[in-house]
């Protein structure tokens, strides 16, 4: 008889003492002085004709990507930003990459989740099917929770067909008066990035449709060149989150270097973003959630942002 990996994970977490759930450490480093635990590893089931995959949270993203790609599918877990992390790390942080405009946010990929609460209980949320409104949406709550409400043990994810083709283009001489015009002439691009001078566009789909889109861009005065990938964001480590409608003004009035995700509102910058205002009632909801799920604040202590305490 095999050991149930979720029950075994819960037993290791136990009911007392601080614990840190270790992924690959590519997103968040462990604090060092806390007992570390690895999440279950491995793909439990992959159903290409259901477009679902179930796997342990400790499964490497690259391993998952390989298995899905064999059947022409992928799962959107922000891999462009962190290709080498774990599934659990991707879900716990909920961090998106710059294909969000076309592929949607990471939070929409999670169908079912098994977590271990700070009380040591195994809790399931969601369901294994691609559509489900049975009960409250624990899955959305867990994505981006940094494991502070529950240590993620296993997830079922929604997969998508790999695009027939992916093409990055760079477009020169795009100023604030032309960026909206560029976006208006694109049909559902996967990404539009812009630094105030140069635009980068990612188009995914049928090669003929991509070619037609490039011609349409040229017809409207946007000469474009194929680019190996999008812009290099490595030198812009900080993320500002602003309303998409404020992006043009933000880039034009920038201080320092920026590259903005047009239509999304993430601005990659070399400047630290200002602290955001918090609302007392929102803080109260956060506190009550954590009081219930992890009353002793023993899961991933210190992980997360200012609201998660």
């Amino acid at each position: 008889m095999g050991v149930n990996p979720i029950a075994e994970f819960a037993a290791r977490i136990g009911t007392t003492g601080e614990v840190w759930i270790r992924g690959a450490g590519t997103r968040v480093e462990s604090p060092g002085n806390v007992r570390t635990i690895d999440a279950p590893v491995g793909i439990r089931s992959f159903e290409p004709d259901e477009m679902t995959v179930k796997c342990g949270a400790g499964t490497r993203l690259s391993d998952l990507d390989d298995v899905l790609a064999e059947r022409g599918q992928y799962v959107n877990l922000g891999q462009l930003r962190h290709p080498h992390g774990t599934v659990g790390g991707a879900v716990a942080t909920g961090w998106n990459d710059h294909l969000r405009l076309g592929r949607g946010p990471v939070r929409d990929s999670v169908l079912e989740v098994h977590v271990v609460t700070g009380r040591g209980d195994v809790v399931k949320g969601g369901g294994p099917t691609v559509k489900n409104v049975s009960g409250f949406d624990l899955c959305r709550l867990m994505v981006g929770s940094h494991g502070r409400l529950g240590a993620i043990a296993e997830v079922t994810l929604r997969t998508r067909p790999l695009p027939r083709a992916t093409c990055w283009l760079s477009v020169d001489d795009v100023d604030g008066s032309r960026i909206a015009d560029l976006v208006a002439h694109l049909y559902r691009p996967s990404a539009v990035l812009w630094n105030g001078f140069v635009g980068w566009v990612c188009l995914e789909g049928h090669p003929s449709d991509i070619e037609a889109a490039r011609t349409e861009m040229r017809d409207h005065g946007f000469s474009n060149q194929e680019s190996m990938s999008g812009p290099d964001l490595a030198a812009l480590p900080y993320r500002w989150s602003i309303a998409p409608r404020a992006v043009v003004a933000h880039v034009e009035e920038r201080s320092g270097r920026v590259t903005a995700e047009v239509g999304v509102g993430v601005v990659h910058s070399d400047q630290v973003p200002p602290r955001r205002k918090t609302d007392a009632a929102i803080e109260d909801i956060h506190r009550r959630l954590t009081d219930s799920f992890d009353p002793e604040r023993r899961l991933n202590p210190g992980a997360g942002d200012g609201l998660i305490r």
């Binding site: 949607g104 399931k124 099917t129 409104v133 949406d137 790999l162 009632a281 959630l289």
Partner: protein
């Protein structure tokens, strides 16, 4: 409802916003389900301040409140229990702002789903969730139920299209969950709120994502000699790496009923027909349509009818979206179910559905979202027939049980409400349900927002034995 409460509500939002006559109380004692409760009073707020004032009165007197949009829900989610205050949002129906460039809109909760799509159509945009009730259901209700619709196969359900909700909590505070900005701090409270069936608070404004209209659309009708050939085609299409915009199925009885109603030339001798729509950029649409036709024929499709123009496309969709109107010609009453099963089990579960209906001597029609495995067995009956309601309820329970036994879930888009509340333990353990109660308590520690729904053991509120006429099990 005491005179003191009525007086407090009238002075809070004005006499014309507070209704207490027998006709309206009866009308608001239920939603579109068969589940009848008891409305204490009906309030029509016109603004977020009105909503706050009504909730302040409810809190002061310790009375529960139930938010209600258009009342098209099918699970009793908006059915008030024990004389609750009904907060009807139909007069909060303004489209507040449309940002065409950023493709988002702010709306009040009473805006009807299709009205938003019509409003933004001139910009080449639409609101993707499209329940069959989209002409009459409200976006506030869509948020409460995390509603779906045929086109959610490719585009995702309501949660994927809601960026922010302004919500009045039961303590009277107004909070913004999520935001136009993409990365809010803290937990995804927006995501938790969508689908909370009115139990976390009352939404007063919603920021939705708008979707560009496709450049090209191809709508096809494929018909089959067996239901299994049709469902196998569904699985093969998905396995081939396509996610059509919609993938809908109707069985023979449904085809016959709809054809008698709309005269669209549907194949009434087929065991099942698939309505498939592919949408997007032209070359992808052409390639997918060709592949789907090939896969259909490989699986025994007798005919593949491709809509030649927009009129024919609309006619095919009219058949699908008006199936429930057509049913009224067969019997005066119907009970519409909503479960989801893995696609590969569609045929087996449908066999069980037909068996269950035969055993209970009921007529069943099936019209459903095959692409995402979302079944909608429709039991038709005449409630004047002695004992028929018991048989309908037994058949419904059996359908839910067989769906879950095949790895499915209780509801794909109608929600749990009262209808399936007591089935929740089929899917969730005690600990799972306790965790769901924690989420509710975090938003509504007073337990005043739409109590007694979704969770089988009411939490945070005392009246555990409220009687609801028509409640199952």
């Amino acid at each position: 409802m005491t005179d003191a409460v009525l007086e407090a509500l009238r002075s809070a939002i004005g006499s014309d916003g507070v209704r207490h006559n027998d006709a309206e109380l009866r009308l608001f004692a239920h939603d579109a389900s068969n589940l009848v409760g008891e409305a204490g009073v009906v309030c029509y707020p016109r603004s977020v301040d009105d909503v706050r004032r009504v909730i302040d009165v409810c809190r002061h007197f310790g009375i529960a409140f139930v938010a209600r949009g258009a009342g098209t829900g099918l699970a009793g989610g908006a059915t008030p229990i024990g004389g609750a205050v009904v907060i009807c949002t139909t007069k909060m129906n303004r489209i507040l702002d449309v940002d065409v460039t950023s493709r988002l809109a702010w709306v009040e909760p009473g805006v009807l789903n299709l009205d938003l799509t019509r409003h933004v159509g001139r910009f080449g945009l639409h609101f993707a969730p499209d329940p069959s009730s989209q002409q009459s259901c409200s976006i506030g209700g869509n948020v409460a139920n995390n509603s779906g619709g045929p086109h959610c196969l490719a585009e995702g359900v309501t949660s994927a299209h809601v960026l922010a909700c302004d919500v009045v909590l039961s303590d009277g505070s107004l909070v913004r969950l999520g935001g136009e900005e993409p990365e809010s701090e803290g937990f995804d409270l927006r995501g938790a709120f969508v689908g909370s069936e009115g139990m976390f608070g009352v939404v007063t404004a919603i920021c939705v994502r708008l979707t560009p209209d496709p450049l090209d659309v191809r709508t096809m009708l494929l018909d089959f000699e067996t239901v299994r050939a049709g469902t196998d085609t569904v699985s093969a299409i998905i396995a081939a790496g396509m996610v059509p915009a919609a993938l809908e199925m109707m069985d023979r009885l449904c085809l016959q009923a709809v054809e008698a109603y709309i005269h669209a030339g549907l194949p009434t001798d087929a065991a099942a027909a698939l309505l498939v729509e592919v949408a997007g950029a032209p070359s992808a649409v052409a390639a997918d349509a060709e592949a789907i036709e090939r896969i259909g024929r490989q699986h025994g499709a007798r005919t593949v009818r491709i809509a030649r123009d927009e009129d024919e496309r609309m006619l095919l969709w009219k058949g699908r979206k008006n199936a429930f109107g057509a049913i009224a010609r067969i019997k005066p009453n119907y009970y519409l179910h909503d479960t989801v099963v893995p696609r590969r089990h569609l045929s087996d579960v449908l066999d069980h559905v037909y068996r269950i209906a035969t055993e209970e001597d009921l007529m069943v029609l099936n019209v459903f979202h095959a692409g995402d495995g979302n079944l909608h067995p429709l039991l038709v009956f005449d409630k004047r027939e002695p004992g028929v309601l018991d048989r309908v309820h037994r058949a419904g329970a059996a359908i839910v049980e067989v769906s879950v036994a095949h790895g499915g879930v209780l509801s794909g888009e109608h929600g749990i409400g009262l209808e399936k509340r007591d089935f929740m333990p089929l899917m969730f353990s005690e600990q799972d349900l306790r965790a769901q109660a924690w989420i509710r308590e975090a938003f509504d520690p007073l337990g005043l927002a739409n109590p007694f729904k979704v969770l089988p053991s009411p939490s945070g509120c005392g009246d555990a034995h409220a009687h609801v006429e028509g409640l199952w099990v």
